[in-house]
């Protein structure tokens, strides 16, 4: 048997998993316009359920029925019925954030329900995974390979049967081809979408159960990591073609294994290319395929436009109320700072400093997502670039951390530009997927090097000294963080109030309209992306100095995802939203420490914020900002009832232009 075949054969089972992921993604995307980032989390949840059932002594067929036949489709059905159906007409950004919320929340929910035990030897579905059943030439075929290929083939046959020979399949194919045309013929698109989500859920759970025994331990990040390969396979099919996505998955698996065989063993080329391969395929597809440059159109011509933003709480206040709240805010801030530098215990000062440093990183999300409507899933990676640059410069060249912070910010901005140029012109989805793949790639390939993050050991980063003033003391460092946070906030506020902010507002509302009034959309997007990456880099460098030692684990890809849902839930459109998110999240994390580990902040907060992000389509201003508006209105009404003059909005210009609502999507559950 030729060597290339020997190398390539083991790639087929792996490719089958990629293919199942790709088909599930394409099915949901084409019928509902949702790119389901939570697919990996669904797969993990099903695999966990299968594992728990088998270890509880259930027969495998019963565990299969529960996890794949019932749970997977039911989860898909629930996602459609209670979430995605209601945001079909929402923007790509809103849909992506909703799926991101699920991706964050589902694995931690399983931790609450099933605990966090080490789960060795995930069971195989039908055959003994390690037994050799027959040989193909010199290649021995094991149980896990037979079951993976066999079950995938069976799933494919069912799918072909459904699509080729049933009325429902015909309708689904029609929806894939032209959703608007299908609706004109009176077909219930909701029902078609529901079936697609059920099938997608079944594919996710099947992929999960098949994938699990490939690894010795059942770990959620194995599933998320493979998502990039599934996305790359889906991209080969243009995110629309099921057969091509399927073939792409198999092809990716095979080529990946062949590369492993022929590249020089142990070389950086071998390791880097194997890790980077799905990322490269994805980027090439995003750049090369013309069909991907246009996001999938759903059945609403206004779908590419964001829902009109509701008024911010700050715009509702009249002059006297505004004056009163301003005085109150300054007083509280003064007391807060005074307390921090005098009596608050050191560990809480440190937590507050952490919160402020993360607020700076979160401001980068405010700028990118809140103001320009773009989504980056690599903000923690950009923060890592800034942190490691500052640390390495301080270590090797004795450069001050403050100067290193600027250099780190510039480096992060440069990396941001490199990523933004090929992906930004293709829209929100491409940017989100491109940055997600980048975060995985940089986290696993670049950061572990000794010249970057130095693996598990990490690097030491000193505290700064400005003239005679040392920031070694935590209270002094708190003040430094406060100053830098204020400066970064001022930059964001000035941008928002200036020409760029107005252009971004136009861009966020409608890209086409923005370009018709002379806005250079591409240049503007790249500039904002670079600025956002730079701010994240500065925040990362400051974080490194606060911690005094950082490692790649501080900037892992999953933190980027968490950052987005935390900021979106708190309020992505305002500076105070980012600050509330940063300080609030880290304070809550500490406060919730008294709870048992299974319900501690590290588990519960991602669930709460992940679920909070599901409401983004309904409350793009963020749940906290929404509550602030509600309470402001209540306070104003109470004030009016108590005999004050009826409140009228401030005559001065609000921070955001208030556009009347023409359509609000219904509740998202």
């Amino acid at each position: 048997m030729p060597q290339i075949v020997v190398y390539g054969l083991p790639g087929i089972p792996l490719g089958c998993i990629f293919a199942l992921i790709a088909v599930g993604l394409v099915l949901a995307y084409t019928t509902s316009g949702v790119f389901n980032l939570a697919f990996g989390a669904e797969a993990y949840a099903a695999a966990l359920l299968f594992y728990v059932a088998v270890h509880a002594g259930w027969p495998k067929w019963a565990a299969f029925v529960v996890s794949v036949v019932l749970f997977g489709p039911a989860l898909g059905l629930a996602m459609d019925r209670y979430l995605f159906r209601h945001i079909r007409t929402a923007s790509t950004l809103a849909k992506l954030i909703a799926s991101l919320g699920l991706l964050i929340a589902i694995p931690r929910l399983t931790e609450v329900i099933f605990g966090n035990a080490v789960r060795m030897a995930p069971p195989s579905l039908i055959l003994n995974p390690n037994h050799i059943y027959f040989h193909l030439g010199s290649y021995a075929v094991s149980g896990i390979e037979i079951s993976t290929v066999g079950v995938t083939t069976a799933a494919l046959i069912v799918l072909i049967g459904l699509f080729g020979f049933t009325q429902l399949g015909l309708r689904m194919r029609a929806v894939v081809e032209s959703p608007r045309m299908v609706q004109l013929t009176g077909i219930n698109a909701d029902r078609v979408s529901m079936v697609a989500w059920v099938i997608s859920g079944a594919f996710a759970s099947l992929a999960g159960v098949l994938l699990a025994p490939l690894y010795a331990q059942l770990l959620d990040y194995n599933f998320t990591g493979l998502l990039v390969s599934g996305i790359a396979a889906a991209a080969i099919g243009g995110f629309t073609s099921l057969p091509l996505a399927f073939a792409g998955g198999i092809g990716l698996g095979v080529i990946q294994e062949i590369l492993g065989g022929y590249l020089p063993s142990g070389s950086i080329l071998s390791s880097g290319l194997q890790d980077a391969f799905p990322f490269l395929v994805l980027v090439v597809m995003l750049v090369a395929l013309p069909s991907l440059k246009r996001e999938h159109e759903t059945n609403d011509p206004l779908a590419s436009c964001d829902p009109p933003p509701p008024p911010l709480a700050s715009t509702l206040r009249n002059q006297s109320f505004d004056r009163w709240t301003r005085y109150a805010s300054w007083t509280i801030l003064f007391i807060f700072v005074l307390s921090v530098v005098t009596w608050i215990p050191g560990n809480w000062v440190f937590t507050l400093s952490q919160g402020m440093v993360f607020s700076i990183i979160f401001l980068s999300i405010t700028l990118l997502t809140g103001m320009s409507g773009q989504l980056s899933l690599a903000q923690a990676t950009f923060a890592g670039v800034g942190a490691f640059a500052a640390g390495q410069l301080a270590d090797h060249f004795g450069l001050s951390v403050i100067a290193g912070m600027f250099v780190g910010g510039l480096l992060a901005a440069a990396v941001g530009i490199i990523v933004a140029i090929p992906t930004l012109r293709m829209g929100t989805l491409a940017l989100a997927l491109g940055t997600f793949a980048l975060a995985l790639l940089v986290g696993s390939v670049v950061f572990p090097y000794s010249w970057a993050g130095n693996g598990n050991s990490g690097i030491s980063v000193p505290r700064p000294l400005i003239g005679p003033v040392s920031f070694q003391d935590d209270r002094a460092f708190f003040l430094l963080s406060l100053v830098i946070l204020v400066l970064c906030s001022l930059v964001i506020i000035m941008i928002r109030r200036g020409m760029v902010g107005r252009s971004l507002l136009a861009l966020r509302s409608s890209e086409v309209a923005a370009s018709t009034i002379g806005i250079d959309v591409r240049r503007l997007k790249i500039m904002v992306f670079a600025l956002s990456s730079g701010i994240a880099g500065i925040g990362g460098a400051l974080f490194a100095s606060l911690q005094q030692s950082v490692s790649p684990a501080d900037f892992s890809y999953d933190l980027s995802l968490l950052f987005v849902v935390v900021v979106v839930t708190a309020g992505v459109r305002t500076v105070e939203g980012a600050i509330e998110a940063g300080i609030g999240y880290y304070l809550l994390l500490q406060i919730m420490d008294f709870l048992p580990a299974r319900y501690s902040g590290g588990v519960i907060l991602p669930i709460l914020f992940g679920l909070g992000a599901l409401s983004y389509a309904r409350h793009p201003e963020g749940l906290v900002e929404f509550q602030k508006r509600v309470w402001t209105e209540r306070l104003l009404r109470l004030r009016d009832r108590l005999g004050g003059t009826p409140s009228t909005p401030d005559s001065d210009l609000p921070d955001e232009v208030v556009i009347p609502a023409v359509h609000h999507p219904p509740a998202t559950g």
Binding site: E111, N116, V118, R119, A121, P129, I132, A140, S142, Y215, N222, G225, Q256, E257, G260, G261, G266, Q274, G346, N347, A394, S400, V401, A403, S444, V445, P448, S450, N454, G455, N456, S457, G458, P462, P464, L465, Q472, I495, R497, G498, M499, V500, G501, R502, A506, F543, Q547, S549, V550, A553, D554, L589, Q590, D593, A597, R598, S600, G602, V603, L653
Partner: protein
């Protein structure tokens, strides 16, 4: 429908929204100069370590300690058993009346959720809020709180998986510090014992794994084992192992050294079986898991592992190990003996031995100093003696390990040493190795636990 306002632009703003500076070049100049002056005045502060000798957490009838471990998060509860081990030990000591009339109260167990930022936070909480005297044990893959605990001179004991444990005099890894960058004689020793001469070495493409296996490659070559296949760039999670195994087969490899985790190692074993070469002996750096060997059974046949303590399988001959297993079972009936749990137990034992050495006058400085003067800590006969005068920097002079072979779902101790004093599961080597190319185990150093004895007390 309300009115739609226009998009107002404030006068005097440039495209970024800042006030235009075009008419005021002096302002720009001053701004740039200010930043320049600020940056030129910047440098880095030197870390100041406090030597407090503090007695926080020390009361007339108890000493309060805290633990720091990864109990939740993306890394599963692999580190949680360390808490059980330490608690079991403290319960046993307290049942016997405590240490010099004081009970040890493991009052706080904080979770860093496998998040380095939270690890530092929790270390601070233990010291500044909970006012613990010491941290016993630490068990986390990202011990970023080490910097803080060192700067505050807090006695800290635990399970070392990162290099943060290397150096600081207040950090005590339960089995002493092992410098992974030294050429490691254990891999060459096993190859020599089995008569193998053509080795393959595999590691993940992460620095800790690569560093460990670089030392393995150096040692194998130094002692005459031909490294015919070297792949220190396996992605995590492991993939592409089929190609690696095919190449091993082509190159006639008769011995495999792995620095991957057990997940990658199991995959490697599976691929070897698939290629029909499962009889090639393998030595795994991370593989001493009783539950894994039970689960994978014959797939792990011909797998060797080594570790720094008496194996659980030899408990019948080592009372110290039997005491650990029995006590763990007594206080935590569902817990299984494991390396991590043992690390918690031995950490607690080191802490208690230190307290006993200083008597009633308990301060952090005195405790740290007392432990750093210990030369033969064995955790009641389950570890080769750790000399804390040198062990913070890995200069102990020799290293001992026990070796085990997996056979049909069980580990069995192999090799070992004999001396006029008795027999031991441990095999010892000079560290670092002398310049000679001959790998010869050294005679058992004094204090190494011997079989069927009561073991030396630490």
């Amino acid at each position: 429908m309300g009115k739609m306002r226009g998009l107002p632009v404030r006068r005097g703003s440039n495209s970024l929204g800042f006030r235009s500076c075009s008419g005021r070049p002096m302002v720009s100049l001053i701004a740039v100069l200010s930043i320049g002056i600020l940056l030129s005045a910047c440098s880095n502060a030197k870390a100041v370590y406090s030597k407090s000798g503090n007695t926080n957490g020390v009361y007339p009838h108890k000493i309060v300690v805290g633990a720091l471990a990864s109990l939740t998060g993306p890394v599963p509860a692999a580190f949680a058993p360390a808490i059980d081990g330490a608690k079991a030990y403290f319960d046993m000591i307290n049942a016997r009346g405590g240490v010099d009339g004081r009970h040890i109260d493991l009052a706080y167990v904080l979770d860093d959720a496998s998040n380095p930022a939270q690890d530092t936070d929790q270390a601070r909480t233990l010291v500044e809020q909970d006012h613990v005297f010491a941290v016993v044990p630490v068990a986390t893959p990202s011990f970023s709180g080490a910097t803080y605990l060192t700067s505050h001179d807090v006695p800290t004991f635990g399970y070392a998986v990162t290099s943060q444990w290397d150096g600081p005099k207040n950090l005590f890894a339960y089995d002493g510090y092992v410098n992974f960058s030294y050429p490691d004689p254990d891999y060459a020793f096993v190859a020599q014992q089995l008569g193998d001469h053509r080795a393959a070495v595999v590691a993940y493409d992460i620095s800790s794994s690569v560093t460990a296996c670089n030392a393995v490659v150096a040692a194998l070559r130094k002692f005459g084992i031909d490294v015919v296949y070297e792949n220190l760039a396996i992605p995590v999670p492991a993939s592409g192992l089929t190609a690696a195994v095919q190449r091993m087969k082509q190159d006639g490899v008769d011995y495999i050294a792995s620095c991957m985790d057990i997940s990658g190692d199991i995959q490697l074993a599976h691929k070897l079986a698939q290629a029909g070469i499962s009889n090639i002996p393998q030595l795994w750096l991370d593989g001493y898991s009783v539950s894994a060997v039970h689960t994978y059974g014959s797939l792990m046949n011909d797998v060797y592992v080594f570790n720094s303590n008496v194996p659980f399988e030899a408990a019948a001959e080592y009372p110290g190990m039997a005491a650990y297993i029995n006590t763990l079972h007594k206080y935590f009936p569902t817990a299984r003996p494991s390396e991590v749990s043992l690390a918690g137990w031995a950490s607690a034992d080191l802490f208690v031995q230190g307290l006993r050495a200083i008597g009633r006058d308990v301060t952090r400085t005195r405790l740290i100093s007392a432990i750093n003067n210990m030369t033969d800590f064995t955790a009641n006969g389950i570890l080769p003696p750790v000399n804390w005068k040198y062990n913070h920097s890995g200069e102990a002079g020799w290293e001992c390990n026990s070796f085990l072979k997996a056979v049909d779902g069980h580990f069995h101790p192999v090799f070992g040493s004999s001396s006029p004093r008795g027999r031991s599961v441990f095999t010892c080597f000079d560290m670092p190795q002398p310049a000679t190319n001959k790998l010869v185990p050294i005679p058992l150093p004094p204090g190494v636990p011997l079989a069927s004895t009561s073991g030396s007390t630490g």
